[in-house]
């Protein structure tokens, strides 16, 4: 990869931390057993490694080890949660509540369920002009719940604008009506303390590659007590993961996942402060260069409302794609990576009430562990230069 390009797309994916790669390596080379092999030592070694990783991940989110189901990533976790609940023969009904600003890995399964006859309510979020920007309204949530509602799914931290939903309050509303709550916490776990018991969540998706762990491994937290959440499995076979998810376990990936989260927790306080200051540096620099720039998402001085590493800005009167093409030195995105192949503007920004043009003129910066203040200076210069260049073309 060109060394010159500064990577500021850490909400799309992150580099595997060398310490994580090191922890994984023995399971690629020496300890390569199948955790399902019960008759020999290789299988036992693999099983022990998986058990240790499971215990560590569970402890990190305030769960019991048996409540962790390993999957191939957050998309699979989301599918298992949504369709796992929706396809249970004994469920409350065919109504699911979610939010307009969710990730495609929530919205697409819901759309498909809708085609099969499910009723889907997508809650709006407060507009960009509001001090509650990006947040759902709890009264609206309560009003949306019905006796036939089988699940509510609300993302903890948004992947594009970094807003944090009030999960604890949302859980109270759901619990009062006896409705299960799922959260896609892919962008939150590893960045802020997340305790499923304290939050009162029933199901939670998270994955390793957003926290300096490997791609291809994720988990679904499934509450197993008082009362246990029951799911229809989505991948059937050898009955691994208590029957919730079949398939030979990705032992190196699982070990890497647990190591990655351990490191995030150990460094969280200092890293959050560091990222916040880098983000403030970036925002100040960009605003100075482009004074009419708009911030998408909660105010930067509201740390309880947003991720520290996220900055999403609109640069009026330029095209986001053209902007990306004009910045050779930095890697950022115009929205979610998963939808960057499609030319449509971000549904999240439209959900905030941004216009099509504004949504197209936006960039998402995802700061990460390997970024330095020098990287931020490079980014400011690159954006300023590209914005001014593009504006000079259109004003002629």
């Amino acid at each position: 990869m060109p060394e010159a390009q500064v990577y500021l797309d850490n909400q799309s994916t992150t580099r595997v931390d060398p310490r994580v790669a090191e922890a994984m390596w023995p399971y690629f080379t020496e300890q390569y057993g199948n955790a399902g092999s019960t008759s020999h030592a290789y299988g036992a070694e693999a099983r022990e490694a998986v058990a240790a990783a499971r215990a560590s991940l569970a402890a990190a989110i305030g769960a019991a080890p048996a409540e962790i189901v390993f999957t191939s990533g957050a998309t699979e976790s989301n599918n298992l949660a949504l369709r796992g609940v929706a396809e249970r023969p004994r469920r409350r009904g065919n109504h699911i509540v979610s939010v307009v600003t969710e990730h495609k890995a929530i919205l697409d399964p819901l759309q498909r369920l809708e085609r099969r006859g499910f009723e889907i309510t997508l809650l709006p979020v407060a507009p960009a002009s509001s001090s509650d920007v990006g947040l759902i309204d709890l009264d609206q949530l309560a009003a949306a719940l019905r006796d036939k509602t089988c699940l509510v799914s609300v993302m903890l931290a948004n992947n594009e604008i970094g807003v944090l939903q009030p999960l604890r309050e949302i859980a109270e509303v759901c619990r009062a009506r006896g409705v299960w709550l799922h959260t896609d916490a892919t962008q939150a776990v590893g960045k802020l303390p997340v305790n499923v018991a304290e939050l009162g969540i029933d199901l939670m998706s998270f994955s390793a590659h957003k926290m300096y762990g490997p791609k291809g491994i994720g988990a679904l937290y499934v509450r197993r007590s008082s009362p246990p959440v029951r799911l229809e499995p989505q991948i059937d076979g050898g009955g691994q993961e208590s029957g919730f998810r079949s398939g030979t376990l990705n032992v190196p990936g699982i070990v890497g996942f647990a190591t990655a989260l351990d490191l995030c927790l150990a460094e969280m306080a200092a890293e959050t402060t560091r990222l916040r200051s880098l983000r403030d540096q970036l925002y100040a620099g960009l605003l100075k260069a482009v004074p009419d720039m708009l911030l998408n998402g909660p105010a930067l001085d509201q740390p309880h409302l947003r991720l520290a590493n996220n900055l999403n800005c609109t640069f009026p009167h330029v095209n986001g794609e053209a902007l990306l093409l004009n910045m050779k030195t930095i890697a950022v995105s115009s929205g979610s990576a998963c939808t960057s192949a499609s030319p449509e503007p971000s549904h999240v920004l439209l959900g905030l009430g941004r216009s099509l043009d504004e949504a197209r003129a936006s960039l998402r910066f995802g700061l990460g562990r390997f970024n330095s203040p020098q990287d931020i200076d490079i980014a400011i210069a690159a954006v300023a230069q590209a914005v001014h260049h593009l504006r000079s073309l259109t004003s002629r």
């Binding site: 990577y7 080379t29 191939s72 599918n79 890995a105 490997p214 076979g237 050898g238 890697a331």
Partner: protein
């Protein structure tokens, strides 16, 4: 203790050159291949290179390969994908064999619960499925036939091409679970005449957690994982680039070494069998001995003992008494049951599976260990 690993059908170590191929993507080439920036596009290229390498091993085209998290997911996608696509409300018919892995059996059971019909074709005492018996199960509403290419326990290779020909005469799609055959014998999708073929990396020297489904161009499937439109809309989820690069490299290695490794492993396996038979005599049975078999697999029944006890006395030797995915159950493995093996013989059955790193010395040592344990237990 140095382990003597003869359980390559359960899983394989990762080949050094496969590790090398993977490493850059666990380090500096970490971008999301869906990202439009240069770093993302470089990972996208690596993804497509690997897709081409896997396609090439199968004699397929690049756009016919869908990456999955492994063989189980690939089987789920193939089987549920066809039935749910062509008969979304239930009512279609699926044919599988009595020899299938749980990763085929369980999706079939899922479909039964959802209102689909499933027929199961048996095999003869040598583990072979008669193509005419498959054809006899076909009905006007049959949507898919799924028959494994090579069995994980006994290694018997099924006449997939003949089965496929009969199915195609009736316009029925054919899937084969080739998890055990890819990388061990030739698995050309045109020679096998299949529409769908599942494979998994960890059975041929790539990591656990990556696999692929061959989907012949024009065959439509309902995805199992919904989300953003990765993998041509057939499999959502951020692509596991390091493992995919590893799978590509493993496919290249397998393609190069197929004939040579097969010959060498068959020789070693036959030597192991000869050593056991010399000592034990004609009472020693080999399951599927008269059928075409994988060169690396030996499923033997040692008379008068239980295989569990035997392995307990040879802790150095890593082998298996049934399919590795099985938990301790007193029930006979479905494969042995399909062969008509008696309970007594099933208990005495051991699966020894060889691989690229198996040496002559290891085979000698394994024979010694097994024979002395057998003597002691008998």
């Amino acid at each position: 203790m140095r382990w003597l690993y003869l359980d390559y059908n359960a899983t394989t170590p990762i080949a050094p050159s496969v590790q090398e191929a993977m490493l850059p993507f666990l380090a500096e080439r970490y971008a999301n291949p869906s990202s439009s920036h240069v770093l993302g596009r470089m990972c996208q290229e690596a993804l497509e290179d690997a897709r081409g390498q896997v396609a090439s091993l199968l004699g397929a085209d690049r756009d016919e390969i869908v990456f999955t998290s492994g063989g189980t997911e690939a089987n789920n996608l193939a089987i549920k994908g066809v039935l749910l696509k062509f008969a979304p409300g239930g009512g279609g018919h699926l044919v599988i064999s009595a020899l299938e892995h749980e990763a085929v059996v369980e999706p079939a059971k899922f479909l039964e619960r959802w209102g689909y019909d499933v027929s199961i074709v048996g095999c003869n005492r040598q583990g072979l499925i008669d193509p005419a018996a498959v054809a006899a199960e076909l009905r006007h509403d049959t949507l898919l036939v799924s028959i494994m290419h090579a069995n994980n326990e006994i290694g018997v290779i099924q006449p997939i091409a003949e089965i496929a020909r009969l199915c195609h005469e009736r316009n029925v799609l054919v899937h084969t679970d080739a998890a055990q055959s890819v990388g061990k014998i030739k698995t050309n999708v045109d020679e096998l005449e299949v529409d769908l073929l599942s494979l998994t990396g960890h059975k041929f020297y790539a990591p656990k957690g990556i696999g692929a489904l061959f989907v012949r161009r024009g065959v439509a499937l309902e995805p199992v994982l919904h989300g953003a439109g990765h993998e041509g809309g057939l499999r959502a989820g951020t692509e596991n680039v390091p493992y995919i690069a590893a799978l590509g490299r493993a496919a290249v290695l397998a393609g190069k070494s197929l004939a040579e490794a097969g010959e060498r492993l068959a020789l070693l396996r036959d030597r192991l069998l000869a050593r056991l038979r010399d000592e034990i005599g004609p009472e020693l049975r080999v399951h599927g001995e008269l059928s075409p078999r994988l060169p690396n697999t030996l499923s033997v029944c040692l008379p008068g003992i239980a295989a569990d006890d035997l392995l307990a006395r040879t802790p150095e030797l890593c082998a298996s008494t049934g399919a590795a995915c099985h938990r301790h159950t007193s029930a006979m493995s479905p494969t042995l049951a399909a062969l008509g093996v008696e309970m007594e013989a099933a208990r005495g059955t051991l699966r020894l599976s060889l691989g690229w790193y198996t040496t002559e010395e290891e085979i000698e040592r394994a024979a010694e260990l097994l024979l002395s344990a057998w003597e002691a237990l008998r």
